[in-house]
Amino acid sequence: MLDDTPKPLVRVRDLKMHFPIHAGLLRRRVGEVKAVDGVSFDVMEGETLGLVGESGCGKSTCGRAVLRLYDITAGEISIDGREIGTMSQTKLRPIRPTMQMVFQDPQASLNPRMTVEAIIREPLDEHTSLSMAEKTAKVAELMDAVGLNRKFAKRYPHAFSGGQRQRIGIARALALNPKFIVCDEPIAALDVSIQAQVVNLLEDLQEQFGLTYLFISHDLSMVRHIATRVAVMYLGKIVELAPREALYRDPLHPYTKALLSAVPEPDPALARTSGRIILQGDVPSPSNPPKGCNFCTRCPAVMDLCKEIEPDYRQVQPGRFVACHLYNETTTTADQTAGTGA
């Protein structure tokens, strides 16, 4: 890089992903699930952007939409300077090697009838013109990189444990030397003692290959460990985005505060004294979000204004973005769209 300022590798603006709801005899369109409803963020080169939120908030849909696994409803996505938001799937094919995905469930995302070697080789078959010998060598190299014994190349996924299967999934994602990897809850299905192994591996690979991650997770303590910056989603929208330390030390949005206080602390002294914010009720349906701010039905600091007008997502401190009326006066810049920052 020529200068020190981080460059955005991925730039997402006002991304919307709505799924139609069909009902009745004629399967008429009766509404839509607004899974992702206008999110904007940047992922800087070499960083890990954590995307956290509860189930159903749209974080996985967001990750998949960024990779254009869906045809998005609206918005712009650019990866490495190329706009892919509206590109056809055929045109996308040659760009796909730069962006890959690691899936949540290593049990379901590996074909049980393919050997490990075939699974890791498949992207090479599809996207490269290497000879068989070259591919086999590359597979062995990838297996080394993720800490799998090359001797097991001819085995089937069922012969591996959960943590090892996730390593296979990671090796497959790395096969085409991607720049950007979306990790969709990569450790959620693993045991505590195995989670740390996989997270350390992801960090090592990031350093080794200069990877950029979008790390989707509901585990706030693990995200604090791995992420450079963190975005918090609620009901299809990003409510807060901030550098890691700032977010965990001083969360701004009432939802982020509640979410952080709900995480059980592995320390009995702390767990029993800290004032926990218990949110009332459940998340509203994304097919029928409330008027005004999406969080107004559960917010402990709700005002009349919140039930009428949706708060803008804006920068309130350098590098800190929040969508909440509580911070209307503290706006420092007029920049309302960018998700960039320190």
Partner: protein, 334 residues
């Protein structure tokens, strides 16, 4: 809580094996623990450590074959649950001992209304009339904090959210005023903010109803917040047992120590790199005549491979199954 109180549930030397084609799986090995009235006993361990199988063994919920309870006693209310007749056990299960399962999505019957499912134990175990059961069912839904309880009795499970369904499960478990409630990973499938709601509800209910609770989880954070005493399980055995504060302040078993180090926290110092417990959990096909943790242990020595450590008392109701004494930094002599 008086320490002298008789335990409501006392499990001694329980051993359960599964017969499989690949050999016998030693799922629960000589597990002993007791539960005092009104206390919350946390059970932590990874998947496959035997925590759920232990609880299912003592309630006779395991299909046999393949499961076989080799030996042990489970004293409850003056009777050994492993020896009484199936009908008698059925009266205890769901009656005096309530059970909440992990996944509220699959443990409710989708074709019956929630009201009918709460009324079932009331009519079977307590012999209530339909009308009395309906009234009690409404009270139970109110107790677990479901708004508009009367109307919701006629709803089906799919009309409830995950957190609400888990509240319904708790209401069913509480229906017959159990002395003991066994909760198997009751919040694992829930989001953190909903988990916080359920944990708070549980604390309230314990104060109100005074029942003893066994809470199975893999989340040490949850345990820190609610448990009085903790059992740590690994490879089908109890490797450490301590009052909750002692367990976190002064863990004695190498597994507990390693586990506490691997979990990142949302506050405090952020580790540059996560501590890892190398290797994989044991398969438990081998007979339990060695320490199950020895292959991943950083203080293991020759004796660990030839003998399974008993639980050594380290004082103040704290014990650990390890030949290595963490306090002196040397092998135990006993």
């Amino acid at each position: 809580m008086p320490n002298v109180a008789q335990p409501v549930l006392d499990v001694q030397d329980l051993k359960t094996v599964f017969r499989t084609r690949g050999g016998e799986v030693h799922a629960v090995n000589n597990v002993s623990f007791s539960l005092k009235p009104g206390e919350l006993l946390g059970v932590v361990g990874e998947s496959g450590s035997g925590k759920s199988v232990t609880m299912m063994s003592l309630l006779g919920l395991l299909p046999s074959p393949p499961a076989e309870i080799r030996h042990g006693t489970v004293m409850f209310d003056g009777r050994d649950l492993l020896k009484i007749k199936p009908q008698a056990l059925r009266a205890v299960r769901g009656g005096q001992i309530g059970f909440v399962f992990q996944d509220p999505m699959t443990s409710l019957n989708p074709v019956y209304t929630v009201g009918m499912q709460i009324m079932e134990p009331l009519r079977k175990h307590m012999g209530l009339s339909k009308r009395a059961a309906a009234t009690r069912a409404r009270e139970l839904l109110e107790l677990v904090g479901i708004p508009d309880a009367q109307r919701r009795l006629d709803d089906y499970p799919h009309q409830f959210s995950g957190g609400m369904r888990q509240r319904v499960m708790i209401a069913i478990a509480l229906a017959c005023d159990p002395k003991v409630l066994i909760a198997d990973e009751p919040t694992t499938a829930l989001d953190v903010t909903i988990q916080a709601q359920i944990l708070e509800l549980m604390q309230e209910l314990r104060e109100k109803l005074g029942m003893a609770v066994i809470w199975i989880t893999h989340d040490l954070g949850v345990i820190a917040g609610i448990a009085d005493r903790v059992l740590v399980m690994y490879g089908g055995q109890i490797v450490e047992h301590a009052p909750v504060a002692d367990l976190f302040r002064d863990p004695q078993h190498p597994y507990t120590r390693a586990l506490l180090k691997t979990i990142p926290s949302i506050s405090g110092e952020r580790a540059k790199r996560l501590t890892v417990i190398e290797g994989q959990p044991p398969l438990m096909l081998a007979a339990p005549d060695a320490c199950p943790f020895r292959a991943r242990c950083d203080v293991a020595f020759a004796r660990c491979a030839v003998e399974n450590p008993p639980r050594y008392d380290v004082g103040h109701g704290h014990d650990a199954a390890c030949f290595y004494d963490a306090r002196t930094g040397a092998p135990r002599h006993a």
